[in-house]
């Protein structure tokens, strides 16, 4: 067991799951929320020459996806260090 105790292992996993779920919530909101379910509402707003809903569906969601992965990597590396389960 790489963790100092069972509690440590549980706490690490809990924090990992919480981070994953909160990032997935953002993932869901920008694509399925803004890009699909709320697209007509957001289309009333303009972002430059784009209708906002259309922009999320064809541009914005993709940028957010990329950002989400890098945030996850950064936070997970910190979490691994905190619980001392990172790789050498």
């Amino acid at each position: 067991m790489a963790f100092e105790s069972n509690e440590q292992a549980k706490a690490y996993w809990r924090e990992n799951i919480r981070l994953m779920l909160s990032l997935l919530a953002v993932w869901f909101v920008v694509s399925y929320g803004f890009g699909i379910l709320l697209v007509d509402v957001l289309n009333a707003v303009h972002l430059g020459g784009f209708k906002l809903g259309f922009w999320f569906a064809q541009q914005g969601a993709i940028y957010v996806f990329v950002a989400l992965i890098f945030v996850y990597v950064f936070k997970m590396n910190a979490l691994d260090k905190k619980y001392n389960v990172h790789e050498e």
């Binding site: 292992a9 399925y32 699909i36 430059g48 020459g49 209708k51 259309f54 064809q58 996806f65 996850y72």
Partner: protein, 585 residues
């Protein structure tokens, strides 16, 4: 220099580069052959993954599809990128820690069952062959248009190149070749997009030009103009689309989840040295993919606008067929664009269109005035010609299309050969073979797979386009839930997982077959009124996935608990420490 010579030169140079890399990166062991020795840098792996992922379909067809679908094209844009978030957060790091070569390896070990492994191998091989046949066809089409050889010769040249570096280099050769192919294909995609964006809007970045005002008519944006034109011409409004919300939702989800469950994508994350590298390389992969995927909708809107403008003329009254531009002449020969006044077989949509055709006037619309047939597959390839870009740009696009098709085929062929030599022979039928023998079998399997793929490319079964929905639907409804539950639920046992996979696949395959036929006449007409909850066959994999999860949990509740050693295995893949290189058993 004329286009022909230029194209030979550019394509020839890229081929020389790929072969050079293959010789440099020859594989000496199964570990190098399957996972490139597990020593690929995450940025390089990200590029290779991106090239592997972006197929002839992404490069050649996607922008054309979006150009004709408008807003609805978002299902591909979000569907084929959003899956990487799932991969990075829910799959890649854990599968890397697990440390084996293949997806069937994980399924077989995690669910302590040869049956589960065999089901996974069959799915993997099926999904990959479906895909690879389309790629070889893509190579053939590019060759036949730009090098003026017939499709068969084109496919054989493509097979030869892939054979050389996939069989010789295995994953190591493929990975480094794909890095080069990524650079070729992304340059080829961006250069014409930037040119056209500057011409139309004055913006260097197509992503911005797409939402900017047209230089030709100040105050009118690209999208306003398109919305106006599409409405006036009787199409559905460009930024609105025509699919129902529920269908867009389900198709996007099926493509996302399918992406995260495709074996040739997952295997990429076994090639990096560490768990943390698996996470970051998913990030790099998506960043590189996003370069093309955020450009594609811009290319789509520019192409649609340019095409309407050239055919209908700037006054929107149609133009004379006798004075048609060169690109129409070139593409007429392939049959992908035609004018009903010039061909006897093709009727105009209505009286108005036919009347104009009588006078030799071309008109393109979504109503009775239409007298043109335009195949959406030509949009990317014809786009530089429509915009009158220099020959070297057109040659570059040809090389890019070939790079996209070759890189994806090579990745798929490797998964097929690994499935045969490793999952089927080593782990099932002939457990006693040595590493060296296994490597030989892997090479033989790759060679056979290339020949089968080439045959399918030359004699494409009529259902190639239809089975793409199959590949994603099957991956979404089988692999994805099985892997997710394998990682996140220690209680999930073999009975639950197998029952879930079988129900998910049967439901999804049954639904697609019922509406699409594939091998026989469809049982039910493929129309929105007939669909279950209004979900098209393209999106049904999402429902199949939900069923898989539900059945798996129900069955696991009433059957024997997961053995202790498997629960410990699951514990051990949940943190990075102690990950070795991807290994044998």
């Amino acid at each position: 220099m004329d286009l022909q010579t230029m194209t030979y030169l550019v394509v020839g140079l890229t081929f020389a580069l790929y072969i050079g890399i293959a010789i440099w990166a020859k594989a000496g062991s199964t570990q190098e052959f399957y996972v490139a020795g597990g020593g690929v840098h995450p940025v390089a792996n990200g590029m290779a993954t991106a090239a592997d992922w972006m197929s002839a379909a992404s490069f050649l067809s996607m922008a054309g599809l979006i150009a004709f679908m408008g807003y609805d094209g978002a299902v591909y844009l979000m569907g084929w990128t959003g899956g990487y978030v799932l991969l990075a957060l829910c799959l890649a790091p854990y599968l890397r820690k697990f440390g084996k070569f293949t997806v069937p390896d994980f399924i077989g070990d995690r669910y302590y069952s040869q049956t589960a492994r065999t089901v996974a191998v069959i799915c993997a091989i099926f999904v990959c062959f479906t895909y690879v046949a389309g790629q070889m066809r893509g190579v053939g089409v590019v060759f036949s248009r730009f090098l003026e050889v017939d499709i068969t010769t084109g496919v054989i040249i493509g097979m030869g190149i892939v054979f050389f570096y996939a069989v010789l280099g295995g994953m190591k050769g493929i990975t480094y070749t794909q890095v080069a192919q990524f650079i070729v294909l992304i340059t080829a995609y961006l250069v014409p997009a930037v040119f056209i964006s500057i011409m139309l809007t004055g913006h260097t970045f197509p992503q911005l030009g797409f939402g900017a005002e047209l230089t030709g008519s100040p105050g009118v944006t690209v999208l306003d103009k398109l919305d106006g034109l599409t409405t006036e011409l009787g199409f559905s409004q460009y930024t609105d689309g025509s699919k129902s919300t529920i269908d867009v939702f389900f198709i996007t989800a099926a493509l996302m989840v399918g992406t995260a469950g495709l074996p040739h994508v997952i295997v990429r994350f076994f090639t990096v040295p560490k768990v943390s590298d698996a996470r970051i390389s998913a990030g790099w992969a998506l960043a590189f993919i996003a370069l093309l995927y955020t450009t594609a909708p811009a290319v789509a809107s520019f192409a649609r606008l340019n095409m309407i403008d050239t055919i209908n003329g700037s006054d929107g009254q149609g133009t004379l067929y006798a004075e048609r531009p060169d690109w129409i002449k070139n593409w007429e020969q392939t049959g992908l664009i035609s004018f009903s006044g010039a061909t006897e077989s093709q009727e105009a949509s209505g009286a108005a269109g036919a009347a104009m055709a009588e006078q030799g006037v071309m008109f393109y619309s979504g109503d009775e005035r239409n007298n043109m047939k335009v195949d959406r597959d030509i949009m990317v390839l014809a786009n530089p010609e429509i915009a009158n870009l220099p020959n070297w740009v057109i040659a570059l696009v040809a090389a890019g299309g070939i790079a996209a098709a070759l890189s994806t085929s090579a990745g798929l062929l490797l998964v097929i050969s690994t499935s045969v030599s490793h999952d089927l022979l080593k782990r099932n039928l002939m457990p006693d073979i040595t590493d060296r023998q296994e490597l030989t079998y892997a090479r033989v399997a790759a060679a056979v797979a290339i020949c089968v793929a080439g045959y399918l490319g030359i004699n494409p079964p009529g259902f190639v386009a239809q089975v793409v929905a199959f590949a994603f639907g099957l991956a979404a409804s089988s692999f994805f839930p099985a892997i997710i539950m394998g990682i996140f639920s220690k209680k999930m046992n073999k009975e639950g997982a197998i029952a879930g996979m079988i129900v998910g696949i049967t439901f999804t395959a049954g639904y697609i077959l019922a509406y699409k036929g594939v091998f026989f006449e469809p049982l039910i007409a493929n129309k929105p009124e007939n669909w279950l909850f209004g979900i098209s066959p393209e999106g049904i994999g999402t429902l199949g996935m939900v069923l898989n999860f539900a059945v798996a949990f129900a069955v696991s509740k009433v059957t024997a608990e997961t053995p202790q050693e498997v629960q410990e295995l699951v514990e051990s893949i949940r943190f990075p420490k102690g990950s070795g290189e991807a290994t044998h058993h």
